[in-house]
Amino acid sequence: MKLTLKIWRQKNASDKGGFVTYPIDGISTDMSFLEMMDVLNEELSAKDEDPVHFDHDCREGICGMCSLYINGHPHGPKQTTTCQLHMRSFSDGDTITIEPWRAAAFPVVKDLVVDRASFDRIIQAGGYVSVNTGGVPDANEIPIPKRIADEAFDSATCIGCGACVAACKNASAMLFTSAKISQLAMLPQGQVERMTRAEKMVAQMDAEGFGACTNTGACEAECPKGISLTNIARMNREYFSASVKSENV
């Protein structure tokens, strides 16, 4: 396949950046999208040009590190991660535009690499059950209905890639935040800190500069793990009820 790549290049966080067009040839349909990028980088290196920097690690769709905005979609045209996107999803002669995630809370580090530490800080604000190692009850002392466990699992499958933020017209992190709040709100282990968690995580999400939710559903449509909008509704419920009921003035 012969392709034209329009890629965002930006030397560092303070550089203005811009698109650079690269023609590329000899791409096999069996390649993954990132392998196509590897080929480009080998070619650039051969010409003594700086390779295109992009985040990636596991290349099996689970670590959440890859993050390219391809032809107007986070992770490209399929509902999967960029590393699981294959070149057979494109046609010979295509022009492919590749950009970094765009959000104030995800500043560009270089080229297509962004800083998603804001997600870590949201989790640090309360995305955990406060138990120390040791001294916990036997695992089977807390029976959990299978349906609840399964539903909590659905929320827990979030890989923290940030596609929801990238897809949202408001760069909102509600799907990400709500997935964690939901998981722990559904499970008995999460009950003790349920209210504080919702309050703190939402406050941190706002402090990071993410936008609000317009319920467009773009996040759900683009999420590689199919995290559902019901999580956002549940987060809202949790947040309202926490605001009214909690003792935190």
Binding site: K11, N12, D30, M31, L34, E35, D38, V39, E42, S45, A46, E49, D50, P51, H53, D55, D57, C58, R59, E60, C63, G64, M65, Q84, H86, V109, K110, D115, A117, F119, D120, I123, Q124, A125, G126, G127, Y128, V129, S130, V131, N132, T133, G134, V136, A139, N140, I142, P143, I144, A149, A152, F153, A156, T157, G160, Q183, L184, L187, Q189, G190
Partner: protein, 644 residues
């Protein structure tokens, strides 16, 4: 130096309890005066950092990824073993211990493995308390499955994403300590060297991957939880960033490297599709429960397949060779990983491989679909089939899957004693980065167990003993050794940048991977290994003459990161070959062609090789010194594995 495993004496079941009692404790008020560095934030690193911070130690946690949650533990699919005996099917701590020792082909330390089995039950309790959503039965209690041919159902799982859920649990505990101010997190920071003062580890040198800043960090102890080195093969199921650098630099600072040649080759991976391939994807082993492995009986048919002249379904049953069922009638397609892998390689070497590269065998679900219906198969393996189709573009319901073995896990690693201490006092190694519990072959669902056991339940006890002995006085961050180590790192980086050669880093990495796979992979012999040693030495020399690393240090420079890692792989590769040469027996995932039974099966040599090979670094480009830790088996009887 004599290798002292520090295994406590006394009955197996009492060793750990006794050892915990005999370990010195750190006064609670003093704990905050101790600083501990944890490198790596996977299962071992995150759980250790969180647990130590909970105890009151001041922890610094480092990872090269942008977030601790991305560590490659996240990719583990299958499950985690624990001797809970919830299923009432006869499991016990001793049985888990026994299975693990036997599965490791009697090349692991009894005391460590027993402790692993012992604390396995606590891991499940801990994870459930954190909110890890394990699979459950309708009654609300935890579900188990049997995994990797085990005769009891002791594997806890969270769909096919157990590693992810466990890691997110550990990551949440870590995040909580970050919020408490007990852990300081350093993401996108790579450890470049260990700083030793008077023979004790007292800090590390790091590179900030965004700014290129080289910094030093002082601490009372350093924990390396940096995973395995499977990427020495270039193609593996490891993440692209997985590397040996932290462990290797520690090795060069005095930590012995144990059993480097023990690598696990996983039989069910998606085959290589071409030169562009950057990594291999594992398909869960559970597929072999229903899939039948075969290749055509004749080379002619295989050639026709490769050229696309015939389709797999055109080949009649009498022209198919279900070689695992033929050779191992009692285990059939469910033989252990090493046996399945080796046989796949054998039939492909005979020219009967089934894809364009000739490096694949079929895993066929036709009979299972005919027997149980497509719906039933979809319910069991739907997500795996989807994944396969996404990657290969082929529909496994209609045409057989193609699979091939790939490097998956490395049992070797830094030598550690019962306390998880390396041969450098104050330097610890946890999880896949150490060599400790899996012997020559790791059982399925054991890696997650070991990472979390080390981090949650072993290191919090054993590190106290050391810290109490050295006392809480602060480590002098201005000691000349820090400046020296920092300069060494800077010089090495400058050297890489100044070569300005003509070949890319990937060129060398791929070449190294090819040598390792060809000569130090599933089956090895002295001749090939000797040849490989020379090839690696040449390649390394060429690397330092002709590698091209563009850009500067003071920026995000992924080429430089890779170059520095590949430089270490080029040294490790040779040590692996040395170790493989030394170990002229077949055991576990390590098959020496010179050592086989008349039927062509692996032949272990307990008389000469029942030891841990721990290698000591002497000097650059000089042979390493072999130290042997004899393995004493007091509680199990050594038997030859047979799957006929």
């Amino acid at each position: 130096m004599i290798l002292d495993s520090k295994s406590p004496i006394g009955p197996l079941a009492e060793k750990w309890t006794k050892h915990k009692f005999n370990s010195k404790l750190v006064n609670p008020a003093n704990k905050r005066k101790y600083e501990v560095i944890v490198v790596g934030t996977g299962l071992a690193g995150a759980s250790a950092a969180a647990s130590l911070a909970e105890l009151g130690y001041k922890v610094k946690a480092f990872c090269f990824q942008d977030s601790p949650r991305r560590a490659h533990s996240i990719a583990a699919q299958g499950g985690i073993n624990a001797a809970k005996n919830y299923q009432n099917d006869g499991d016990s701590v001793f049985r888990l211990f026994y299975d693990t020792i036997k599965g490791g082909d009697y090349r692991s330390r009894e005391s460590n493995v027993y402790r692993l089995a012992e604390v396995s039950v606590n891991i499940i309790d801990q994870c459930v308390a954190q909110g890890v959503p394990f699979a459950r039965e309708y009654g609300g209690l935890l579900a188990n499955r049997s995994f990797g041919g085990a005769q009891v159902s002791r594997t806890f799982y969270a769909r096919g994403q157990t590693g992810q859920q466990l890691l997110l649990g550990a990551y949440s505990a870590l995040s909580r300590q970050v919020a408490n101010g007990k852990v300081k997190l350093y993401p996108r920071t790579e450890m470049m060297d260990v700083v030793t003062i008077d023979g004790h580890a007292r800090g590390i040198v790091t590179r900030n991957l965004i700014t290129g800043a080289i910094e030093t960090h002082a601490a009372h102890a350093v924990l390396l939880c940096t995973g395995g080195y499977g990427n020495v093969f270039f193609l593996s199921t490891n993440a692209m960033g997985s590397n040996v650098t932290a462990a290797w630099r520690a090795h060069k600072k005095g930590a012995y490297f144990a059993n480097p040649c023990y690598t696990q080759i996983h039989p069910t991976c998606i085959p290589v599709s071409g030169d562009h391939q950057s990594k291999l994807t594992l398909m869960s082993e559970s597929l072999r429960n229903d899939g039948r492995v075969w290749v055509p009986k004749t080379v002619e048919l295989a050639q026709k397949l490769r050229k696309g002249e015939i389709k797999p379904r055109d080949i009649k049953d009498e022209d198919r060779d279900y070689y695992l069922e033929r050779k191992y009638p009692s285990f059939g397609n469910l033989v252990p990983r090493d046996v399945a892998s080796r046989n796949a390689k054998d039939v492909c070497d005979e020219g009967r491989g089934v894809n364009e590269t000739g490096q694949a065998v079929f895993l066929d679900f036709r009979d299972a679909i005919n027997r149980d219906s497509e719906e039933a198969i979809r319910a069991r393996y739907g997500n795996l089939f989807d994944m396969y189709q996404q990657i290969t573009g082929e529909n496994p319901y209609q045409t057989p899957m193609k699979i091939y073995p790939a490097v998956h896990y490395t049992m070797g690693g830094l030598w550690v004693d019962y306390n998880l201490s390396t041969t450098v006092p104050g330097l610890y190694s946890l999880g896949e980065a150490n060599f400790s519990d899996h012997g020559a072959n790791r059982l399925g669902a054991s890696a997650l167990m070991q990472g979390l056991a080390d981090g949650y339940f072993v290191i919090p006890y054993t590190i106290g003993d050391y810290l109490a002995q050295i006392g809480p006085s602060p480590v002098d961050a201005n000691h000349p050794e820090f400046a020296k180590a920092e300069k060494g790192v800077k010089d090495a980086i400058q050297q890489l940048l100044s070569i300005k050669g003509s070949k890319t880093v990937d060129y060398f990495h791929k070449k190294l991977g090819h040598i390792m796979w060809e000569y130090c992979g599933m089956a090895r012999n002295a001749e090939g290994l000797t040849k490989a040693k020379g090839m690696i030495q040449e390649l390394r020399a060429e690397f330092w003459k002709d590698v091209k690393v563009l850009g500067a240090n003071e920026e995000l420079n992924q080429t430089l990161e890779k170059a520095s890692r590949v430089a270490d792989f080029l040294e490790l590769g040779e040590l692996m070959v040395d170790d493989a040469l030394n170990r002229s027996e077949s055991c576990g995932g390590h098959f020496r062609l010179e050592s086989q039974t008349p039927e062509g099966e692996a032949l272990r040599d307990d008389e000469n090789f029942a030891y841990v090979a721990a290698w000591e670094f002497m000097a650059e480009n000089a042979p390493e010194t072999l130290h042997k830790e004899p393995l004493v088996f007091e509680n199990v009887k050594l038997t030859q594995r047979s799957y006929k």
